[in-house]
Structures are given as structure tokens and as C-alpha cells.
């Protein structure tokens, strides 16, 4: 099912007409699969959905309430299978248990700096990321532990990173706000507002480039960009919406609207607080979904990811959610109204899913208990692993500043690469940190 009531309209090139000599010329010059820079031809080659006579009157409609209305009508039409249900439940429990453990460890002085916890928002991470393939990419923010976990980075690697240990997913060099995993295509936690969005847009660009320019037909990889409500007032957000829609990039912009920056309410900072409306303004669907309900999130996610995979372009999804803790563990969280907190706490996404699974006989109380127990063990084990792991060695300080520390053209042994026959043959290894790669592999094998 496509987004009900949503019309997606292709942007229209001004003055475009088939008899335009420029366009004919461009068409003949352009490669068979027009990529960027030849957008004019790209559009002309497509069937124009709108009559040329009314270029400016096109309205892109997006209906926000569609999913609210589409309430789970009958139990026979279940939204997910038993396996899927348990997988999502496990992921959400992992996210919650892991973050609670982080708080404990932070207060015990095991981790440092800013630690931003995800409690309350699990439905978004699990609802979206569990639908991805391993090759799909996720770009996150400073609140990135759970995105990494959902994407499959082992809990022990994330915990170890938070402890600043050598076995962490970035060998202790990244920290809480900077989770990376090349293997799982977690392209980073970015500490600054809006910074991750262009990176995600670039990842989506590379998928399209690989498919259309490098002719890797099977490259249908999708990128998810996660960010918050505060980011939607940042210029980078708008710039990327434009480019993503313009080039029909396979990306989903996932706004985790938890209603608050640090102490700045979304309503106080935003002229039009309905973020999903900004999608249609750029020619992509905008969807609003209850981010406290993983089933609704999952359904929207399925549709949006499918769209991106089919090459139909980006989607903006606003998930209205809530963080159960302060902005970071350093935030006293005094400005949010206790009544508001209680209202959202009553809509805990984990409780909601649990209820659904049991009511629809997809799982028994015992099944879920078993999952919770398993996750407790996983998290305990992660803490033990992290605690026992060695701190990074002194020499590590100066490693990894460059992929190729000597600079292009000079090999690790100081010899000139142009003198290496393999170099001219194109088979020489240019910049490769073998030790790092092996370490990552070992770690994940253990994990």
C-alpha cells in the first residue's frame, strides 16, 4: 500500500518542452542513465505526471493521520508475524536495558563526558532499523547507542566503546557520541545538530551512483538518517531535503521528535511544529506517525524503505516520541512538566508492544520473560566484557589519523609506490590498516 492520500509529484523543470532544442541536445549527449548534472534530461525522459500548462499549481498532499485512523481493525490482519514480533520486542528490550545499564555505569564513573540515553524512543529505532538489510546504512546523532545496537553492533562492542576500551567498536577513540561500524554500516554518531544529515544524504547518493554510474544493478541500499526535532530548524536539514528529492536519493529522513531540545520546547522553537509538512514542500511525502507505537512506526518504515529501494525517492517521517530521561545524564531535566512526562510514560512503547503480542496470541508472557532474561544476561555480559577489556595502548594515540599516514605515493616501508610493479598494475594495497580490520573481525566473531 502506498501512503494513503499522498500524492508524490515530480519536480518540473521550468520551460521544459519536448521541442526545446537544448533538451534535445542534452538528451543526445547524456548517458543512457542520466545522473546528476543532467537532471533536465532526467525529467524529460520521465513521463511527466503534470500537464505543462499548470506548472506551479501542483500540490503535494500528505496526510498525517492516516495511520492513526488505520487502527488495527481486526486481529486477523496482524501487522507482524510471531518471529518479527519477538525480534522487535527483543531489540526494544535490549535498547532499554542497555541504556539503563549505561546510566548506572556512568554514575559509577565507568563512562565519561556526555552520555545521551534513548529511553522511551525505542519504537523508532527498532521499528525502522530492524527492517534494514546489513548493507543498508544508518546515520545517527549523539544519541546513538541504540541505533548501533538495532543495526546489529554487538552490545559488548558498544559497551566497551563507552568504557573507553580497546575492544570497543571504535577502539575507545570515538566514545558515546561517535559510534561507527563499517561492518554494520553504522556511519557514525554525529555530535552536532544536523551534521549527520548531509553524511546520510551522501551515503544515499553513493547507492544511487553505484547503481546508475557503476552499473551495480543489485545496489538497492537504503540510508536512514535519524535526527531530532531541534535539527529541523537547521539549514542542513533543508538543504538535504532539497538534494534528496531533486536527485531521488534512496534515503529516509527519520525525525525523532521527542518534543524537546535540551530545555527548549519544540513548540517554542519552531514556527510550524508539524515537521512532516516540510516533506511535501520539497516534493517528497511527509508522514507523521506515533513514535510510541512500534507497529505504526514499522508500517510507515516498511513503506518508506520500500519506496527508497524501488528508486522512488526519499521520504520524511516524523515520529512523535518522548525521551524518558534528561537530554544527557548531565541534564537535571527540570523544565519538562511532570504531567507531560507521566502522560508519555503511560504510553511506554515496550508495554504497548507487549500488550499487542499477548492479546494477539503472538507470544506468551513466558516467551517475553525469557527474552527479558536473555537480554539482561547480554547486557551483564557486555559490562563484564567491557570492564575486563584492556585500555588502549599508548601507541594507539597517534594511529588512525590518516588511512595512509605516509601520504599517497609512499609505501609503509618508505619506498616509492611508483617503483612497485603492482602499483601500475593496480593491484597494490594502497591504504589499508590491516591490524584494525583484523581486530574488528575478531571482535565481531567473538561477539
Amino acid at each position: 500500500m502506498a501512503f494513503a492520500g499522498i500524492k508524490v509529484i515530480q519536480p518540473l523543470a521550468l520551460h521544459a518542452s519536448s521541442s526545446d532544442p537544448y533538451n534535445r541536445a542534452a538528451k543526445s549527449i547524456a548517458t543512457p542513465s542520466p545522473f546528476l548534472g543532467s537532471t533536465r534530461t532526467l525529467r524529460i525522459n520521465q513521463s511527466l505526471p503534470i500537464a505543462l500548462s499548470r506548472p506551479a499549481s501542483s500540490i503535494v498532499a500528505a496526510v498525517s493521520d492516516v495511520f492513526k485512523e488505520k487502527k488495527l481493525k481486526s486481529t486477523s490482519d496482524l501487522l507482524l508475524t510471531k518471529e518479527e514480533g519477538l525480534e522487535v520486542y527483543e531489540d526494544m528490550i535490549l535498547g532499554r536495558a542497555f541504556e539503563d545499564m549505561c546510566a548506572q555505569m556512568y554514575y559509577r564513573g565507568k563512562m565519561f563526558g556526555f552520555v545521551h540515553l534513548y529511553n522511551g524512543q525505542e519504537a523508532v529505532s527498532s521499528g525502522f532499523i530492524k527492517l534494514l538489510k546489513k548493507e543498508d546504512s544508518v546515520v545517527s546523532t549523539y544519541r546513538d547507542h541504540v541505533h548501533a545496537l538495532s543495526k546489529g553492533v554487538p552490545a559488548r562492542a558498544v559497551m566497551s566503546e563507552l568504557f573507553g576500551k580497546k575492544t570497543g567498536c571504535c577502539r575507545g577513540q570515538g566514545g558515546s557520541m561517535h559510534m561507527f561500524s563499517a561492518e554494520h554500516n553504522v556511519l557514525g554518531g554525529f555530535a552536532f545538530i544536523g551534521e549527520g544529515i548531509p553524511v546520510a544524504t551522501g551515503a544515499a547518493f553513493s547507492s544511487k551512483y553505484r547503481r546508475e554510474v557503476l552499473k551495480q544493478a543489485d545496489c538497492d541500499h537504503v540510508t536512514l538518517a535519524f535526527f531530532g526535532d531541534g535539527t529541523c530548524n537547521n539549514g542542513q536539514f533543508f538543504e538535504c531535503l532539497n538534494m534528496a528529492a531533486l536527485w531521488k536519493l534512496p534515503i529516509i529522513f527519520v525525525v525523532e521528535n521527542n518534543l524537546w531540545a535540551i530545555g527548549m520546547s519544540h513548540l517554542r522553537s519552531t514556527s510550524d511544529p508539524e515537521i512532516w509538512k516540510k516533506g511535501p514542500a520539497f516534493g517528497m511525502p511527509g508522514v507523521h506517525v506515533d513514535g510510541m507505537d512500534v507497529l505504526k512506526v514499522r508500517e510507515v518504515a516498511k513503506e518508506a524503505i520500500g519506496r527508497a529501494r524501488r528508486g522512488e525517492g526519499p521520504t520524511l517521517v516524523e515520529c512523535e516520541t518522548y525521551r524518558f530521561r534528561g537530554h544527557s545524564l548531565a541534564d537535571p531535566d527540570e523544565l519538562r512538566d511532570p504531567a507531560e512526562k507521566a502522560r508519555y510514560a503511560a504510553r511506554d512503547p515496550i508495554t504497548g508492544l507487549k500488550k499487542y503480542l499477548i492479546e494477539n496470541k503472538l507470544a506468551t508472557e513466558a516467551d517475553l520473560k525469557a527474552i527479558e532474561k536473555k537480554i539482561d544476561e547480554v547486557v551483564e555480559e557486555a559490562v563484564e566484557f567491557a570492564d575486563e577489556s584492556p585500555a588502549p595502548s599508548r601507541s594507539q594515540l597517534l594511529e588512525n589519523v590518516f588511512a595512509d599516514p605516509r601520504g599517497f605515493g609512499i609505501g609503509p616501508d618508505g619506498s616509492y609506490r611508483c617503483e612497485d610493479p603492482k602499483f601500475t598494475e593496480g593491484t597494490a594495497q594502497l591504504c589499508f590498516d590491516v591490524e584494525m580490520k583484523n581486530l574488528m573481525l575478531n571482535m565481531h566473531l567473538q561477539g
Partner: protein
């Protein structure tokens, strides 16, 4: 005509201390909230006035035995009658008298008009804050309080000064530097912005826009400010607003660096002096603890490279107060680099520093510790490291002179060269990267001007040439430590470590 000459009010400096005023009135330190009702209470001879309210704003004043003084009439009548001409009103006077005489009772009074109240508060607050300091017996002040009081006083003194940034208002500042200012000056002058570093920077960089803003504000929403207090000597010919932009950390300034450099720093030159930009960019800079590569770095050398910017790097509470006040009064864009770790540190301050007129000159370094054997230059947090290193070196018979740069641009070449000509040895310390760093510039100036005086190669201590790692052991290795300074200084003095 050069605007700068009109804008710039020469400030009092250490060498030209302000006259101390004898206070005929006791201190006013008042506890008032906006809302209702008003409660006046007399406790141990002090009047405590407050509004019980659900809002989170509160200000503290206390009225000590000022019964009968005109100020008190003014204050109370502003609270009670909400109309200035009523001050002269006999009924009001007697009402005040009754009130002040009524001692132990708690009084509940209605309060409706915030704007009129604001008018009086605008007049009273600066008086109160200036007197507060003279009556204060505190000898220590944290850097946080120093910055807060400097902002407070400058805002009180000049209604063109306002602060804008993320979480500066209701949250009271991410590092609580703006604590209490929202309650005092209201949301029009303590402006919470969305997370949009770029736009807020450019908007405020241009006085032409500021003029418009100012005009609108005067006409519409700012009646009480415009009518208000004339401040600590900001001239009547003053036109532009003076924004203070808080970056939650200077790392976020990277999002807006185009406007700091291309808009703010260059406008005066490009317009041939027609448009100057009296703006302050401030926030914590440098290495913090455990926050990883993107949140932990020093931008001193970055901004120090740009003509058109003044770059201040306070270390102590005295620096923080004096330099921030100077920065706000300065007619040019100033980058004010604070340090998160220093915020909570206390430094002794003299009454002179606490004077609302206190200001430090921009472009002058301070010799924190006199010595004869070796010169150590440092700024911000590194000054404390250098001072501690100097103490350790003292035991080994090395008498180090420590220079607190205070200002990276303009750099006080005179003081540095004079010191090196005396000691003949130089060690530079900074948290930033070594290449093209502040230390590199200092070394260059010494080699240029005092080459013949050097008895040893200069030693440059800087951050490791890597992005800041997260792991604590690596993080410690990435920034200069006291031992590094001691070791390098011994090397410079040809002593074995």
C-alpha cells in the same frame, strides 16, 4: 565619520582604577518574582519582598534599613501602585511608610503590570548590582560567577546589550553562565534560539539589521528599556545593538564560522569603516573531559589567524570579568574563548575587580608570576598548569616567569619579547594543535624581534596532532600536562629531567 569613535567609551583599567564610592545607602538585594501576589516580610531588620508564583523566575534583593529613603518609596510604589507619578502621591508615600513601619507582618499585595514594574526594575537593578559588590565581603569568585556578573552588569548598563543562544534563557544556560538573566531582563533580551547557529549569527552581525530591530523594539515591545537607565557611561549617541552570542560550546561555532569570519570580521574593512560590528561570540572552548573528538578542541589559533577579529582567552575570574566587559563594550567583533573546566574554579578577586566599571585592556598580556630564568607563555586553562609547573620548577632552582596571554589577537608581542629578553629562554604552552598554532606565532615573534637574546632553542608544548580520543588514558596523552611543561622547561634551561 567613524562610528567606532562614537561607540567606544574608554574603559577603566587596572592602571586607572575607578574612584571608590562611599555608599550612603545600604545594599539593595532584592527577592522579587513576576506574578502575584506580592509578599513583603521583615526578617531580622531586612525587608524581603517576593511574589509567590508558579513561574520559575526569581531575583534576590534585600532592603536593609532603608525605611524613609526615597529609593524605597520609588521601589515600593512601583510595586504597589504601578504608576510613576504615584511616587509623588502623598497617599502612596504614607502607604509606604505604613508598610515599612509595619514590621513583622506579612503583607499580601496585588501586582498586575509587569511593564511598569520593569521600568522601575531597569532603574533599580544596576544600582542594586553595583552596591551589592561594595557591600560584599566575598574574596573568592568562580569564573562562572565572574562571567555571569559581567554579563549582568553590562546588560544593566546598556539596554542595547542582549544575549542570544541555545538554552540561554529558560534553561539558564547549558553551563549556567546566563543564570538569572532571563528573570532579570526578560525573554526579549535573553533570547532562546532554535538550534540555528548560522542564522542567529548573521542576523546579529549587521548593525543595519540591528538598527531595524532596535527601532522596532523601541517602538513596540521595549518601552521600558528604551525609557530606562542610562548605564555606566554608554553614550547617548549610541545606535547599534550589542549582541552577545553564546555558543553552547565553541565547537558549534564551526556551523557558523562563515559568518564569524566573512560577515562579522570583514564588514568594517569592506565598508571602509562605515559599518562596524560590535558583537561578542562567547562560549566554552578547548579540551573538555570525555566528550570525544568533536566536542574537545581549541579554536584559539583558528580565530587568531583572522584579521578583523579580537580573540580573548580569559583564565581567572579577574580575566573573565574584565575581558568580557571589555569585549561587550568593544566596537568590533570579539571571539571570547572560555573554558568549561575553569567555570567552577574559584579565584580571589579584589574589590577593584568587582567594581562595575572594571575592565581590562584588550591586547595586554598579564605576567602572572615574575621570574628570571625562563619565560612560559600560556592561555586559558594552561595558565594554571604553567603556574603549577613553575612551583615545581622553583624547587629545582628554576625561577620561571609565567605570562597569561589573555588575548591571542592582538597578541601582546611587547610583553612577550620583554620577558624573553630578560630570561633568554622561552617555553610556549597551548592545548591546540602545534602546527600553525599560537605557540608557533609566539616563537616566530621572538625569533624575529629577540633572536640575539635567546640562549636556548624555544620549546613548544601543544596538543597531540590527533583528534581528541575518547578513552581517558589516551585523552590525557593528547593534551599537555604539568609534567610536560616541567620537562620542557628543564630542557630549555639545559637541566636534566
Amino acid at each position: 565619520m567613524n562610528h567606532a569613535s562614537r561607540y567606544y567609551k574608554p574603559t577603566n583599567t587596572v592602571s586607572n582604577p575607578p574612584k571608590k564610592r562611599e555608599l550612603s545607602h545600604p545594599a539593595i538585594l532584592l527577592l522579587v518574582t513576576f506574578g502575584s501576589p506580592l509578599i513583603i516580610r521583615r526578617i531580622k531588620g531586612q525587608f524581603i519582598i517576593r511574589f509567590s508564583t508558579s513561574r520559575i523566575c526569581y531575583q534576590t534583593y534585600s532592603l536593609q534599613g532603608i525605611a524613609g529613603s526615597y529609593n524605597c518609596y520609588l521601589l515600593l510604589s512601583s510595586l504597589l501602585t504601578l504608576n510613576r507619578k504615584d511616587v509623588e502621591d502623598y497617599k502612596t508615600k504614607s502607604r509606604c511608610e505604613r508598610l515599612l513601619g509595619s514590621g513583622n507582618q506579612n503583607l499580601q499585595l496585588p501586582f498586575y503590570n509587569q511593564k511598569v514594574f520593569g521600568d522601575y526594575m531597569q532603574r533599580l537593578i544596576p544600582v542594586a548590582s553595583s552596591m551589592k559588590h561594595f557591600s560584599s565581603t566575598t574574596k573568592n569568585m568562580t569564573v562562572r560567577d565572574a562571567l555571569n556578573s559581567a554579563l549582568d552588569e553590562e546588560m544593566a548598563a546598556d539596554s542595547n546589550v542582549f544575549i542570544m543562544g541555545e538554552e540561554v534563557g529558560e534553561y539558564q544556560g547549558a553551563y549556567k553562565i546566563t543564570k538569572g538573566l532571563l528573570d532579570k531582563y526578560g525573554p526579549d533580551r535573553v533570547v532562546d534560539t532554535p538550534i540555528t547557529e548560522v542564522t542567529s549569527t548573521v542576523l546579529l552581525s549587521f548593525p543595519s539589521i540591528s538598527y531595524l530591530l532596535h527601532f522596532q523594539l523601541k517602538q513596540n515591545s521595549y518601552p521600558y528599556i528604551q525609557a530606562g537607565f542610562t548605564g555606566i557611561g554608554v553614550g547617548a549617541a549610541y545606535h547599534g545593538l550589542k549582541p552577545v552570542i553564546e555558543f553552547m560550546t565553541f565547537n558549534f561555532s564551526m556551523q557558523a564560522i562563515d559568518h564569524i569570519i566573512n560577515s562579522a570580521a570583514k564588514s568594517n574593512y569592506m565598508s571602509a569603516g562605515q559599518i562596524n560590528v560590535p558583537i561578542v561570540f562567547r562560549g566554552p572552548n578547548g579540551a573538555a573531559a570525555g566528550v570525544g573528538a568533536q566536542h574537545s578542541q581549541c579554536f584559539g589559533a583558528w580565530f587568531g589567524a583572522i584579521p578583523g577579529l579580537k580573540v580573548l582567552v580569559p583564565y581567572s575570574s579577574e580575566d573573565a570579568r574584565g575581558l568580557l566587559k571589555a569585549a561587550i563594550r568593544d566596537p568590533d567583533p570579539v571571539v571570547f574563548l572560555e573554558n568549561e573546566i575553569l567555570y567552577g574554579e574559584s579565584f580571589p578577586v579584589s574589590p577593584e575587580v568587582l567594581d562595575p566599571n572594571f575592565c581590562l585592556p584588550i591586547g595586554k598580556a598579564k605576567i602572572e608570576r615574575e621570574g628570571k630564568d625562563v619565560t612560559i607563555t600560556a592561555y586559558s586553562k594552561m595558565v594554571s598548569f604553567a603556574l603549577k609547573a613553575a612551583e615545581i620548577l622553583e624547587k629545582d632552582g628554576i625561577n620561571a616567569e609565567v605570562i597569561n596571554l589573555r588575548c591571542i589577537r592582538p597578541l601582546d608581542r611587547d610583553t612577550i619579547n620583554k620577558s624573553v629578553r630578560k630570561t633568554n629562554r622561552l617555553v610556549t604552552v597551548e592545548e591546540g594543535f602545534r602546527q600553525h598554532g599560537v605557540g608557533a606565532e609566539i616563537c616566530a615573534t621572538v625569533v624575529e624581534d629577540s633572536f640575539g637574546y635567546l640562549d636556548a632553542p624555544v620549546e613548544r608544548i601543544a596538543g597531540a596532532d590527533v583528534p581528541t580520543p575518547y578513552a581517558p588514558n589516551l585523552e590525557r596523552l593528547a593534551f599537555p600536562q604539568i609534567e610536560d611543561i616541567v620537562r620542557a622547561t628543564k630542557r630549555a634551561c639545559y637541566r636534566s629531567a
